[in-house]
């Protein structure tokens, strides 16, 4: 499996030069570390889309993934750019710890949750101090979005990574309860395969990030594991031999499939996607736009690392 999974790493590495091109890599620039090229270079936007800063996590993972086909592993420049991405994210926050994605002063729950996860993960991998997360974690504790499970899962993961275990346990419990009889998490009124795969990936990361003995907080680890298993079962049956599915009945009609949650649980799905990648027959990170290529690459890299046994590092 690991030999065939190298294609996942190759498809990620192939996109990294494009992703790095999105970044202001000029030290001393006011926008040093900003990955929103439409903001710092083209000046088409008056605000920064904080989701681009999730590149910090991708770069940290690349830095920590030794492989002959990964020229970015161990490079000081890559580590510095990951740190710069985190620092720019931190400076971009509003006073309440939130960030914007789609318009100025948005204070987006979604973007705050995902980008906070990315920065906390990146700091852990690089062995550096994360930005001061107190205000951001307060924001994530205060707000919720029960209609959109992937955002809730990201918030729960950020809270776990930030040490806010009680608040995280509440969100996890609510998330598990929201799962329907078929195993789908809610995405604007129904199940969606693509977003389900994102939610499952986040819950997989969350499961791995739960502390062994948190003080005064009991996590229902078994309930979480069962929920993930049910979610995977709901998706696995509809994936064809090339990793594709019919999205017409999905609530948000996504086309992609994040793979991390399937590693160690249903690797047949990963094999199918790999078969599709070999023929360029399945949606892959390189086909995504500038916003979504970054987290999709991170997912492929996490999947490769899980299959290679690197996800303990």
């Amino acid at each position: 499996m690991i030999e065939t999974a190298e294609i996942l790493l190759e498809r990620v590495v192939g996109q990294v030069p494009r992703i790095l091109g999105l970044a202001d890599r000029r030290e001393g620039s006011r926008a040093y570390g900003c990955f929103d090229r439409y903001y710092w270079h083209y000046k088409l936007h008056d605000w920064k889309n904080a989701r681009f800063q999730e590149a910090a996590y991708l770069l940290a993972l690349l830095w920590a993934t030794p492989h002959e086909k990964n020229p970015f592993a161990g490079k000081d420049a890559v580590r510095d750019w990951a740190k710069a991405a985190m620092e720019f994210w931190s400076r971009s926050r509003h006073r309440d710890g939130s960030v914007d994605e789609l318009y100025p002063h948005e204070r987006s729950f979604c973007a705050t949750a995902f980008s906070a996860c990315a920065c906390l993960h990146a700091a852990r991998i690089l062995g550096t101090e994360p930005p001061d997360m107190a205000s951001t974690l307060r924001f994530l504790k205060r707000f919720d979005n029960p209609d959109v499970a992937n955002q809730r899962a990201a918030a729960a993961l950020a809270l776990v990574l930030g040490g806010e275990y009680e608040a995280a346990a509440k969100k996890i419990s609510a998330l598990v309860e929201s799962q329907d009889a078929e195993g789908f998490f809610p995405e604007y009124g129904g199940g969606d395969i693509g977003y389900q795969s994102i939610t499952l990936g986040l819950l997989t990361e969350l499961e791995k990030s739960l502390p062994e003995t948190p003080e005064n907080v009991i996590f229902d680890r078994r309930g979480l594991a069962e929920s993930i298993a049910r979610g995977i079962a709901a998706v696995s049956g509809v994936i064809d031999e090339k990793g594709r599915y019919d999205n017409r009945d999905s609530s948000r009609q996504t086309q992609y499939l994040y793979l991390h949650s399937f590693a160690g649980r249903n690797e047949d799905v990963i094999e199918k996607v790999i078969a599709g990648l070999r023929e360029d027959a399945v949606l892959q990170p390189g086909w995504m736009d500038d916003r979504y290529v970054i987290p999709f690459c991170a997912d492929y890299l996490l999947t490769y690392r899980a299959l290679a046994g690197l996800d303990k590092t």
């Binding site: 990294v16 270079h41 000046k43 490079k75």
Partner: protein, 63 residues
């Protein structure tokens, strides 16, 4: 809050919203005219380069 207070509040918000939009529009025009007046239209300066493989080459100095 109801009655005349609500009406005043709503008119205030509408007016404030229109002022903000107008000032944002003016700002965009000023910023973009300033950018266009720069050499090469200001958006294609050489330092805003794409990734170069020499950027991560630790065996020699980057370009």
């Amino acid at each position: 809050m109801g009655g005349w207070k609500l009406v005043v509040f709503r008119i205030f918000n509408l007016t404030l919203g229109r002022i903000r939009f107008f000032s944002w529009t003016v700002k965009r025009v000023i910023v973009n005219r300033k950018i266009k007046s720069q050499p090469f239209g200001g958006r294609y300066v050489a330092s805003s380069r794409y990734f170069d493989a020499r950027d991560i080459d630790e065996s020699k100095e980057s370009g």
